[in-house]
Each structure stands twice: as structure tokens, then as C-alpha cells.
Amino acid sequence: MAKIHITTTINGAPTEFLCEPQQTLLDVLRDQLGLTGSKEGCGSGDCGACTVTIDGRLVCSCLVLAPEAEGAKIETIEGMADGDTLHPLQKKFIEMAALQCGICTPGFLMASKSLLERNPNPTETEVRYWLAGNLCRCTGYDKIITAVLDVAAEMRESAR
């Protein structure tokens, strides 16, 4: 079976890869492209550890077939920091200890970034519902929610 040749854009960089028809985007990101920031937690779209955006839309990369990446614009956690400068959400997660083991963190960061791009002033309830597809077994969520709300407030303040 011939592999499929895919041309896509990942974190702004034109990227090509070869894949099997049933391979997931997550497997290609991690195993072929060395982008291991996206994690495989459940592999069934329940935990959100593999969260990326495709054409600006938040998705679980474990539930996307790699060939679907053809012509798409994909953003992963590796594209979140600007060189050595962390994104405000990344800084805040560290500052407020909004992580422990860290496996869920890339997914939470991607999902939180997407939320704040769409809604710079979410309520606590809205943050909790938006992030309901990201599971964390360490923190108990409160520190994550507080960090996201703090960053939202800071970003609103600096946008004034």
C-alpha cells in the first residue's frame, strides 16, 4: 500500500510528510515530525491532551486522520511561545502551579488560548465548560481555572 503524501502548514512552517491512510494526525506529529508536545492520553477524544487547532478550530488530534491535514493550517503547543518568550498563559501556569505532572498541560494551554482569542472576558463557569474536554488528574482544576481567568484579566488590562 503506497503511503499518502501530505502538504500542510504546521505552526506557520510549510511541512510535508508521508502517512498511512488510517494514521492519526497525533501519531504523525509525535512519531514522524518530532512534535511530542501533544500527548496521547486516551486516544478516543475524551481527555484533550492531544489538542491542536486546525484552521483555527480546536480539535483532538487523536481523532483526526493524518491525510485530513492536506492543505490545512495546524497549530500545536510547539508554536505557542514566541522563541524564548513564553505566552502569558504558559507563564501564568508556571507562576500559579497550574500543573503537576504536566501531561495534560499542552492541551489545556491550547484550549485556553483558543478560548481567550474568542472571548477575552469569560466567566468562571464558561472557562470550566470550555475546558470540560481537558482532563487533569493532578491539580483538581482550580489552579488552572484561576490561571486562565487571571491571564484573561491581564490581557484585557494591557489591551486598554
Binding site: 500500500m1 488510517q22 477524544g45 478550530r57 485530513e68
Partner: protein, 296 residues
């Protein structure tokens, strides 16, 4: 290692051709939130995966003379962001937007939810209440199927080999109409309905002039409950009418006993949700907003 093929169809005709040629081994890939999970578990083993998201009419929403036609593979998140559609059919949209997480919403579609044919599919009771028409294309041309006749059992649809669901049409709304969908789950989010009820109402003043009721997760397929609708039509949604409609819903239940809910519990809850959904639909007709917790 595998002989699976991936094909991205560019037209409905091409997708139908690929599905017909696959002779029952073809699977449509819309959002993939069911298909990929089923492939990983071994529950489904496609020969050909036909991705339909490059077909414009299958991923867009078109309004024509007051009727909305929703591309079968349009992500639920896109439906939720469509202001006119949400205004006309808030119940259908809240049902579609209850499926899975934000990430799942970015992919999962109403067409896929319907074709997966789960009795607990969240969007289907609302589509049944809405009087949705399923637009099917196949090797022998097109046909239109009332949504309540589309599924034939758990995981089974009336699609023949080579046929695909292209879109879903929601009819033009008379004035003073609205709808609502409620489901019961043991958690607040990310779960499968124990019972789901969709209600669509049209009113004149405070009297119901038309109604449809869709009931999910309590029978092998989602049910259209005519008797419940009849109990509501002509009433002012007074207690007697709501009790009669709730009783009709409970009487229509043929649920299973499982870890999510017992037969007795599901049967009772079907009536409770009918009453609450009907009252939300009425509120909406009267301009009172009911929104979920989605921040955008």
C-alpha cells in the same frame, strides 16, 4: 499492513461513486469523532474511508425561503456560531452543541450524529421535533426521508449501499415558534443522555397551535411522540396538558435497564423533561432567553 484507502471526495457524485464501489466496506468520514473511535476499538473496519469535508454543500448552512439546509458534515461548533440558525432553531442548536467537548464540537456533525444511529444521539430528538428532512443521495438519485424514519435500530439506518446523507433541511418556521432540547446525564458535561427530549412549539397568544415531540435514549431509535404533541396542541400549557403530554412520553418509552438508568427511572424522567422542554420553548417564543454555558 493494511488495505484501507482514504479518499477525499470533491463532489457528492464522487462520494456516492466511491461508496457504491466499496460495496458496503465504505465509511463516510465527517467529523470522525465516532468513526475513528470505532476503528481503534475494532468495531468498524473500513475498506475505503470517504472524507466528505471537501464537498462545499456538505459543510455549509444555506437559508432559502426561511428553510435552513445544513450540510451533513458541518461541525456542531459552526452551527452554534450561525446566529440566524440559532435564533430560528435554538433547540436543535443546543442539542448539537451538547455533543462532547469543545474539541469534539470542532469536528462532530449533526449528519454524523444521525448516521451513527445511537438511540441516545443528542441532536436527533431535537431534529425529530423540528420536522427535519434528511436529504439522501445514492447511485439511483436523490430521496428525502423524514428524520424519524431514518434510523431503524441501534447503529442501523435506512441507507442502502452507496447512499449518503448530504444535508438536513429544517422547514420554514411559522411566526411565534421555537424549540428546546433537554437531556439528563449524571454529570454536567461530557456524557451520554440517559433520556433526551426535544420539543418544538408554535403558539398563537398563549395557546399552542402546533407541536412536535422527539424522545431519545428510551427505545431502539429516537421516537416521534404524536400523542404527547396532541396533548399540547390547543392547550395553554396548563398543568393538565403538561401532565397528559408527560404521561404520553412515559407511555412511549421502551428503554433498557443499564448502568446509566433503570427502566423505571428513564420512563419517569421522559415525562419530566417533556414538561421542562415545553416550558423553555414557550419562554423562547415569549422572548425569554435560555442559554447554556458555552462561552462563545
Amino acid at each position: 499492513m493494511s488495505d484501507i484507502q482514504y479518499k477525499a471526495a470533491k463532489t457528492v457524485r464522487e462520494a456516492v461513486g466511491l461508496m457504491a464501489a466499496a460495496k458496503g466496506k465504505g465509511y463516510i468520514l465527517a467529523g470522525g469523532t465516532d468513526l475513528l473511535v470505532q476503528m481503534k476499538s475494532g468495531a468498524r473496519t473500513p475498506g475505503v474511508i470517504v472524507d466528505v469535508k471537501k464537498i462545499p454543500e456538505m459543510v455549509s448552512v444555506v437559508e432559502k425561503n426561511g428553510a435552513f439546509t445544513i450540510g451533513a458534515a458541518t461541525p456542531a461548533a459552526v452551527l452554534g456560531e450561525h446566529k440566524k440558525l440559532r435564533k430560528a432553531w435554538p433547540g436543535v442548536i443546543e442539542a448539537a452543541n451538547l455533543i462532547g467537548s469543545t474539541q469534539v464540537q470542532g469536528r462532530a456533525s449533526a449528519g454524523g450524529n444521525l448516521c451513527n444511529a445511537s438511540p441516545a444521539a443528542d441532536s436527533v430528538p431535537a431534529l425529530v421535533a423540528a420536522g427535519c428532512i434528511v436529504n439522501v443521495a445514492g447511485p439511483n438519485g436523490k430521496r428525502a426521508v423524514p428524520v424519524e424514519k431514518f434510523c431503524t435500530g441501534p447503529g442501523k439506518t435506512s441507507l442502502k449501499t452507496g447512499e449518503i446523507v448530504v444535508s438536513l433541511t429544517l422547514p420554514k418556521r411559522p411566526k411565534n415558534s421555537s424549540d428546546a432540547y433537554l437531556r439528563l446525564i449524571p454529570r454536567t458535561e461530557m456524557d451520554i443522555a440517559v433520556v433526551g427530549v426535544g420539543v418544538s412549539l408554535t403558539m398563537k397568544g398563549d395557546t399552542v397551535t402546533d407541536a412536535r415531540v422527539g424522545l431519545g435514549a428510551v427505545a431502539p431509535t429516537v421516537l416521534l411522540v404524536d400523542k404527547a404533541a396532541k396533548a399540547l396542541i390547543g392547550s395553554k400549557l396548563d398543568d393538565a396538558a403538561l401532565d397528559a403530554a408527560a404521561e404520553a412520553c412515559s407511555a412511549a418509552c421502551k428503554p433498557i435497564d443499564d448502568k446509566r438508568g433503570t427502566i423505571k427511572y428513564r420512563t419517569k424522567i421522559a415525562g419530566v423533561l417533556l414538561k421542562r422542554s415545553a416550558m423553555i420553548a414557550r419562554d423562547r417564543i415569549n422572548g425569554i432567553e435560555h442559554r447554556g454555558h458555552r462561552p462563545v
